[in-house]
């Protein structure tokens, strides 16, 4: 089985560096890349009745926007490098979703960019990178 690199990709510059890193490793090892874009979503947040009614529409729009603006250009850049690539779009807690995905796909590595902040917020609530390294079932690379 060839090596599969899962890249948590949100369209940011560091995410692009993470993607480039993973692409070059995959190319060297003859592996593939799975671009995972996770839209932050909690099933335990609170919504107004109107938001509930519009949720399905919004979700469809959010997915379409993510597909065209973020996932597709990334996919094209990996394809251009001649590396086999798949994409996946999910809703949920980012780190948790990446971990589940890594298990399900039998990935070799999870690669993400770090957001470079050390804010009060991430101290209290934790960062994606922080929780991912703690919980990832496979080796995890954080690209600066």
């Amino acid at each position: 089985m060839s090596d599969k690199f899962i890249v948590g990709f949100d369209g940011s510059d560091t995410a692009q560096r993470a993607l480039d890193f993973a692409t070059s490793r995959a190319k060297a090892q003859g592996g593939s890349v799975l671009i995972a874009h996770v839209l932050e979503w909690s099933p335990y947040s609170f919504l107004t009745p109107t938001e509930i009614e519009e949720r399905h529409q919004r979700r469809t729009e959010e997915m379409a926007r993510a597909e065209t603006a973020i996932v597709n250009p990334a996919k094209a850049s990996v394809e251009a490098a001649g590396v086999p690539v798949e994409t996946v779009l999910k809703f949920g807690h980012i780190a948790e979703t990446l971990c589940k995905l890594a298990e399900k796909e039998g990935a070799t590595q999870v690669v993400i960019g770090r957001n470079g902040h050390s804010t009060f917020g991430s101290r209290v609530f934790g960062s994606v990178a922080g929780s991912l390294v703690q919980t990832s079932p496979v080796p995890c690379t954080i690209v600066p």
């Binding site: 099933p43 335990y44 609170f46 107004t48 109107t50």
Partner: protein, 513 residues
């Protein structure tokens, strides 16, 4: 909680509104409105001849009993499954990003948790004694079956529009469900329901709420004209429901559950601080339920008060929750029914009971030491309380006796609960409005502007007769809705049987790993 009779609050928070502020024009409007609508109010709240038991309360309780028996005590059989659904055990991970069962439950609850849980319970106990708690809990447990029935139908017969948005509620299941069963009159009932729902939304779901919010504000800030409260509230409601400003709504939606948790948490602390009295309190509740312990009206008085407040508090059978739940996308309509049956449990059996226990345990009600019976006030209409409080005042005094800061928290809670109830009812009213007049941005805007105007009216005037009328409208919703539920309950049973057999055969499975 939305519905709460004006008279009850008048004794509590609302004292200030009367007196100096009473203008002659207001009085004229009140008198005119009262004479025009009094017959309707009297009809809805008419007691059975020779008793003080309003027939509408019996109507709700009988319906709850019928549904409980018809569905084989579904509220107990399905409670575990309902919790599993809310936890997301049966949610397909690929559907993440859609509204979860938890969110549907939380939103529907924020429309019902409120004044009824705080003030309504105090009224029930103040008049009916601790025994009212027993009957309130019983009515709450039975009401779970009514919610289950109406919410399942709400989802099953909603309209889905090409752009993905949905409209549902009793008006849709009355029309489509009756047509499906070949019964006449569905369209007429649907229109009646919609009219009552709009009136209820503008009254109990709006004017009454802004009125109570103003009373709570004056209690903290001192006396000032309600017009200003009305304007501020109307502007906030306007930017949320017309401007679509989500941030305010989402702040409220986050703070309301938080307030509910603070409320229940504080109640639990007070109860635990007096742990040695829990047994005694339940003794009072059971003894009072069957003997009355000397309250006005005896055992029957306790029963009426308990049933009435439970029905007023959890809205089971009114049909409002069916509108809220039908907006949720789900493959199985019955799952929303299961989830919704938790609402009367949380609203009435948990939160209302907490209020009741705190009032009983902090011994706000005066007992005649010689006989062990409760002493009545001078008028003989209610139990004498330590400081002569009733309604919200009684709840505030009970909590305040343990924590002196609590009345301020309670005032904030009342304002926030009022706001979230307004947002919920603006949606219920809107759905009834679009049912009558058709979907469309312009038509929706018309209703929303009317709704905001009524916020100002509600806060600025002393609207006794108007509030009575809007309460009556909300219960009139229950009259129409429950007629429909009786005719449509075989459809729910079919859904239930089909779902249960698929659940047992393993066709419907858990997604948890």
């Amino acid at each position: 909680m939305t519905i709460f009779k004006h008279t009850a609050v008048a004794a509590g928070l609302a004292m200030a509104a009367q007196g100096a502020a009473a203008q002659s024009i207001d009085e004229q409007i009140n008198a005119g409105f009262a004479s025009a609508t009094g017959w309707f109010v009297n009809l809805i709240f008419m007691p059975f001849p020779g008793t003080s038991f309003p027939w509408i309360v019996a109507w709700l309780v009988v319906a709850a009993t019928v549904f409980t028996i018809y569905f084989g005590f579904i509220q107990f059989r399905a409670a575990g499954h309902a919790i599993a659904l809310v936890k997301g055990d049966y949610s397909d991970p690929d559907d993440a990003g859609e509204v979860s069962h938890f969110q549907a439950l939380a939103t529907a609850l924020s429309g019902t948790v409120g004044l009824g849980n705080i003030a309504g319970v105090a009224v029930a106990i103040g008049i009916g004694g601790p025994g009212a708690t027993f009957w309130m809990i019983l009515a709450g447990l039975m009401g779970m079956a009514s919610k289950f029935t109406e919410c399942t139908l709400g989802v099953k017969y909603r309209n889905e529009f090409p752009d993905g948005h949905v409209s549902g509620g009793p008006m849709y299941y009355l029309k489509k469900g009756f047509a499906e069963r070949g019964l006449p009159g569905g369209g007429f009932l649907a229109v009646m329901f919609s009219i009552f729902c709009i009136l209820g939304a503008l009254g109990g779901g709006n004017m009454f709420q802004s009125n109570q919010a103003h009373q709570a504000l004056t209690g903290v800030l001192g006396e000032y004209p309600g017009f200003w409260t009305g304007i501020v509230f109307a502007v906030i409601v306007f930017v949320v429901i017309v401007g679509g400003l989500k941030s305010i709504a989402s702040v409220t939606e986050k703070v309301v559950p938080f307030m509910a948790v603070i409320y229940v948490g504080t109640a639990l602390i007070i109860i635990l601080m007096n742990a040695d009295m829990i047994g005694w309190a339940f003794g009072q509740i059971f003894a009072g339920a069957f003997t009355g312990l000397g309250v006005a009206g005896g055992m029957v008085g306790a029963l009426i008060q308990g049933f009435k407040r439970a029905a007023f508090s959890n809205e089971a059978g009114v049909g409002s929750a069916a509108i809220a739940h039908s907006a949720v996308r789900t493959k199985e309509p019955i799952t929303e029914g299961f989830v919704s049956l938790l609402e009367p449990f949380i609203d009435t059996v948990v939160i209302c009971t907490m209020t009741a226990l705190v009032i009983i345990i902090t011994q706000q009600l005066m007992v005649d030491e010689a006989t062990g019976l409760y002493m009545l006030n001078e008028a003989g209409t209610a139990i004498a309380t330590v400081d002569g409080n009733s309604g919200v005042g009684l709840t505030a005094a009970a909590f305040g006796s343990a924590f002196s800061w609590f009345p301020t928290v309670l005032a904030i809670a009342v304002i926030l609960f009022a706001f979230s109830t307004m947002i919920s009812w603006s949606y219920y009213g809107l759905k009834a409005w679009t049912y009558l007049f058709g979907e469309g941005k312009g038509k929706e805007l018309t209703f929303k502007i009317i709704f905001c105007l009524f916020v100002v009216i509600g806060a600025s005037a002393n609207l006794g007769p108007v509030i009575d009328f809007s309460d009556a409208a909300i219960f009139a919703m229950a009259v129409v809705n429950i007629i429909g539920l009786y005719f449509l309950m075989p459809i729910v049973k079919r859904e239930l049987n089909s779902y249960m057999s698929r659940l047992q055969s393993g066709e419907i499975k858990k997604f948890t790993e």
